[in-house]
Amino acid sequence: MREQTITLWVLPNHEFQTVPVLRAALKGFLKENPGVLVEIVPQTLHSIWNGLFDLVKNPSEVSGPDLVQIPGSWNAALAQLQALENLSELDPSLTLDSWQSMAGLYCRTGEDGSGIYSLPWWTEILALYYRKDIFARLGLDPSLLETLEGLKTACRKIRKETNGHGHFYPLANSNPRESILISDLVPFLWSDGGHLLDSKGGRALFQRGEAARGISLYLEFLNRGYMPLLGKSGLVPPSLFEGYCAMQFSRRWPKSMKNLGAVPFPAGSAGRFTLYSTQNLALVRGASSKSAAYRLLRYMTEPSRQKSYARSMGAFPAGPFEWEEMLSDPGLREVYRRSTSFMQGLPVSPIMGTLARIFERAMEGLIFQILSGQFRREHLESELAHAASQVDHILGQYV
């Protein structure tokens, strides 16, 4: 039997264990499909983005994957670029009934939303975790963490007590190794009443007062040294879950809640919001092993396998589930149950992927200023204004 190789690009979902964990998860598929090999290639967000664009621009000279993991917010952009296969055309019986409705928003595109271009694989909800022992030792009441102002107070007190000893920080980002991503910023932006785009998705709003205030608060955490940007050793300190911070925003839940507490994302002046995000799987247009790759896609997104894979990394499946199936800690279940009432996702827009990149470039400039001790609020306003005008131009051209 002739061998087919499916190339699968994934993000480092399990860091260094990404390939072994996924290979174990695909054992059943390989058994059911003798003669099919799966080459798992971990990539970064940027390399996936650039790789897919290169494939669109030069399909005859560039080789790409058959199946790819993408943030759900990229679905519309990549579908519009015709980088992805329309799964509804490939499989007319395909529906999104067995997925969470919010996850389904990030799979469809097209004028009537009829095309399904990717399937949700797993989801994340942002929450705030803290060290119970440190709070107890410092006499901090965890209810402080119900608001962003309270969080600031907690950071100040912890910073004062620990004085930046070693690599200990009051607060850590959800993904310490990465630069500031849009998913780090949006809950802050929303909490102060801001928005990324207007309700029709035709104009940028993140440069406006409320949004800029929210982003400014995030940068304040960095500028005051409450949240590490970069350790002196060039190594971003390991996370709360490895014992190096007092608190951490996290999109994943830990295996053990020993000595840990959790609260939903704190409330800002405009209320309480948190980020719901999905990771999807998509079939790349022009894939050489299309039918085998589609079978793999359906295999990986089958509800029980979704649950199992999501559980292995502290995420949630994209299909319906019971909290008890995923979280053994009742306190943690309550935190996420509460979070679902005020969670929201990034706008469903064909330029979300581009907007995210524009944001990151803007933040990179600011990171440098913060590290050099030269950050001023005006720098943020200037960067946001430039970013907004670029986004408006792109919206005018492409949407």
């Binding site: 990171i367 430039h386 670029q390």
Partner: protein, 489 residues
Amino acid sequence: MNLPDLDLHGLLRLALPWISRASGAKRVSSFRLNVKESRLSLDLAYDQGQFQRTEEMIYLPQKSPFWALLTGKKAALSYKKPYPLLYVPLRWAGLSPREEALGVLRLEKPGGKKPFASGERNLAVLMAEELAQNLYQVDLDHKDKEQVRRLSALAELAAIFASSLRVEAGIRQILQGIQKHFRFDRVRLYLVDKSRQTLRGELSVDVRGKVKSLRQEEFPLRVGEHRFSNVLLGSGEGEVMEKYKDILLHLPLIVQGQPTGLLVVDNLLSQQSIQWKDVGVLKSFPAQIALAVDNARLFDEVQELSLYDTLTKLPLRRYFFQRAQEELYRAERFGQPLSLLLLDMDFFKQINDTYGHQVGDEALKAFSQTIVGVLRKIDFPCRYGGDEILVLLPQARREEAQMIATRLLSAIRSIRISVPFARIKEIPVSVSMGAAVYPEDGKTIEELIEKADAALYWIKSHGRDSAAFYQEIMAGVEEQPGLFQGDVA
């Protein structure tokens, strides 16, 4: 190890496990230096048999200790917290003292307490030097390949420029060629319209190579009116554009010191940086593109000159005959009717002699415009001679041709040419017309023209300001007042 076949990641996948084993580091990561952006970016990390690519950057402000490492002032940087880690430069002996290292290697012992021993450190420095040399070679190979790609692009695009004759087709090929070879999200071309003093959009090619018209975009060609006009007139892009110089380029097209157009390329959608080496190559194109576009425009103008009469804007003989042959073929093949009219302005020579050529030209222009205004869309007039207009009437039988002739007579009679300097102030215009019908009057265009001319001659010698069909003349039909006099019965 066959180096030329290895790319960067291939080389690192061989080297990092080897370095990990030899140095005792559980985890080894390779970072590349970006001098312009003052940061180190992770290429690849290795940890106990597994590789990982993540986005990790080490920003390097001025006082960062990493600069000492990268400039060769320090051999290694060692830290004990949060666990033992060691940085060594990717620096090989071939680098001059002033050149920065290619990047750094980070060796880690997560969870360990014992720092790197001096022996382990020295070994790490040596292995990094070996890796750096190999990385340098891989870089060179990559640069060579890129250079070959650019040269191929140059050659292919130069061929396109040289062969582009017709403006629209040529522009499309040029833009698609640039988009394909340089992999831009979008390529747009704007051309100067000298008569309107504007910069007008022509075409754009998007990320998928799809062509779109930009004709709806037009900017006055004055400083301050639009960024594109500013760039083309040498006023600069403005400070704002400095931020986007990595993803958006404006390339003015100048021919003999005169602005001809503007090429705009961007990666706004992908946000991929435009490679500076591509910029260098691209900047050599505007002159060629400008010339190619200019040549294509000249070609189009010459084509137009040879097809259309400049005064009356009517097609010339050559064009008429091409079209007439097509209509004749249709008439033959499908049995469709076809007629032909030959119109001659009455007393045109006298008008020229009496009032001057300028008035004569105005008369001809009014004459032609009036004729065109009366004709059906499918009719095809041409300037046949000095004051002679030949009109092809496809799908017109004799009766229909008669109706058209009657309307023409009436419309032309209402023309008044202004001569303010003369006593009469206005001169009327009239026309003599001969008509022929296919197939009874002839089966070729030449025959039809000959018969129409004969009928015209008859009218000229029988009072002018009227029309006649060849068949009628042959039948000896007397002119009937009321018919073909412009009065509709």
